[in-house]
Symmetry: C2
Subunit: 353 residues, 2 copies
């Protein structure tokens, strides 16, 4: 007798399924905005061009894969609920994510995002501040007004995350002014804390929010929150690797862009803190005035690798992915949803590397 063949969904299929579930409510939420911030939001979400012309097939572009909304849907399913329970939460986390990209691009002076101008570059700084505020308000409103009986607990769950997110951005911005060496240098540990706030908090919130909206016990929501947070820190480490070695056609940013700008990312901080000749040459390069030219950036990337920064960041990512897996195995959860979550885990690290 042949055992029944169970085909497990691939990561892109899982993300597609969750996006399809969330998209109608997300579209409806954005339509509640004033037309002006709504246009900027649609541009930012990859649904339209500057000026409002719809993008023909927004689902397949280089836009956000919808990892956060998927975590919310899968969090609800893992806690024994249905994905439908989690839709308002998934909408809220996507809106908050979009808000934070919009405002972070202003603060960081980033002129491009996903191979298009950033919102402040396309629409102006003032309007981009407005659009971010509108998305932030809409996220809170969507969750608070949802008919889910657990919406009060869900808003509480989201509220702390919002503060963590802003704290992470403050920490990241302040890193810029600090030196590469000496007692004021940013340690890899400080960087990890920042990444936990800036990226981990929202991915953790996303997964936990699904459980909260499904009415799961606090312990279940906590475990999913922790799993999501580890995924977020891993995600950030991979983003940092992409900021140095990512393919510009895929990342939408110039090659070595983070190095040219002297951004304090995990691989660079790990390399600098390694000491040795490569680290010393790297510090000398990074400490020079102005941004690096092509040759210097290439040399810096080679030195980060030689000093072990690339390896350290990859190890950091895998360490947090292992912890995320550990969390998912620490309480009884729905096996099918856990299977989907575990399918997403390697996908988050392998993407575009």
């Amino acid at each position: 007798m042949t055992p029944p063949v169970t085909t497990r969904a691939t990561a892109p299929q899982i993300l597609d399924r969750c996006r399809a579930l969330v998209r109608p409510a997300l579209t409806q939420a954005v339509r509640r905005l004033h037309p002006w911030p709504a246009e900027m939001a649609a541009f930012s979400l990859g649904w339209s061009e500057v000026g409002g012309r719809p993008v023909p097939d927004p689902g397949t572009g280089s836009h956000g894969k919808g990892v956060r909304q998927a975590l919310t849907v899968l969090g609800a399913e893992a806690a024994g609920g249905s994905g439908a329970d989690a839709v308002a939460g998934a909408v809220a986390v996507e809106l908050i994510h979009t808000f934070s990209l919009l405002h972070d691009d202003i603060m960081d002076g980033d002129e491009t995002r996903r191979q298009r101008p950033s919102v402040w570059k396309a629409y102006g700084t003032g309007p981009a501040v407005l659009a971010g505020d509108a998305l932030f308000a809409l996220a809170v409103e969507t969750l608070a007004d949802s008919r889910n009986v657990h919406s009060g607990a869900a808003v509480r769950h989201l509220a702390g995350t919002l503060s963590d997110l802003v704290r992470g951005q403050a920490e990241d911005l302040l890193f810029e002014a600090r030196p590469w060496t000496g007692p004021e240098a940013v340690s890899p540990g400080e960087y990890r804390t920042m990444a936990g706030h800036k990226t981990g908090a929202l991915l953790g919130c996303a997964a936990g929010l699904g459980a909260v909206l499904a009415g799961a016990p606090a312990a279940t929501a906590d475990v999913l929150t922790r799993a999501g947070r580890h995924l977020g820190v891993a995600f950030q480490a991979v983003d940092d690797l992409l900021g140095i070695w990512g393919d510009p056609r895929v990342t939408g940013k110039p090659v070595h862009s983070d190095l040219r700008r002297g951004k304090k990312t995990y691989p660079v901080l790990a390399a600098v803190s390694a000491r040795g000749p490569a680290a010393r040459e790297l510090v000398a390069l990074l400490a020079s005035d102005g941004s690096l030219d092509d040759a210097d950036a290439r040399r810096a990337a080679a030195l980060v690798e030689e000093a072990g920064g690339r390896r350290a960041a990859l190890a950091e990512a895998h360490r947090h992915l292992d912890r995320a897996r550990g969390c998912l195995e620490s309480v009884p959860l729905e096996p099918a949803a856990v299977g989907d979550l575990l399918t997403l885990v390697p996908f988050l690290v392998d993407r575009r590397l």
Copy 2:
């Protein structure tokens, strides 16, 4: 026999009492922020100078009178609760108010606020965006995490207000690009809708929030919300008058500042829509390129007055104050708190005029 003498508190005494009740929780909330946004928040609240040096006696400065927090405290008392019930709500509305001043100053390019540099001018645009976001997040968190059993309903009450606030700012910004005459001109009615969102929504939310936190029936909270909204629209009309005729030593802005910048405010829109020779001359002045010089601004102010704009804005303010009073008399409320609210009403219009 002599009847007992009841001395009614004055408006400044009422505002002082409410500020004293709210201040410890507001201070504690701001301390929860990352030190950097906390410093910008303290500066914005008038507690410290740029750089963080504390202001000797922040209570008596030219800073916010705390009208919104007072409405929340009095809203709770009017609904039969105690002011203490309302403190988390009062903190949230003050934080939201501060957030909106901070971000609006960026969008409007306003370089001064209350006789000091605006936050973006003192700290930079990016940091000011961050500080606003931090205050927004803190407001939601403070209310969601409060131990008040009605905090869930209170967050719902606040959430819709946040969207109205952003909508009002969008409407106001878009007015700038529109002509003074013709079918595309901004009508006084459109202006009233904008003021309802931009200023009315938060004052309405403030008063209603007090009732919600005191566990009042929905009808009571609704009436207080409507009363606060009318107060807000009246408040905005008075602000518009101050933007033209206010004493620069009190407003902290140059005389005729709104006219110089061609801002579309109620008195100007009412004057322009009045037709007649004064209105025509005013339109010709306002439609000229560039900002007005001293003589032109003085002439424009005289023309606004001649065309009835000043009178119309004052009438608008009084109309809404009457409606606010009508709301307060339409349901049974605690007489002492209603007395305090009615004491504040004329104070809002007479301030600095």
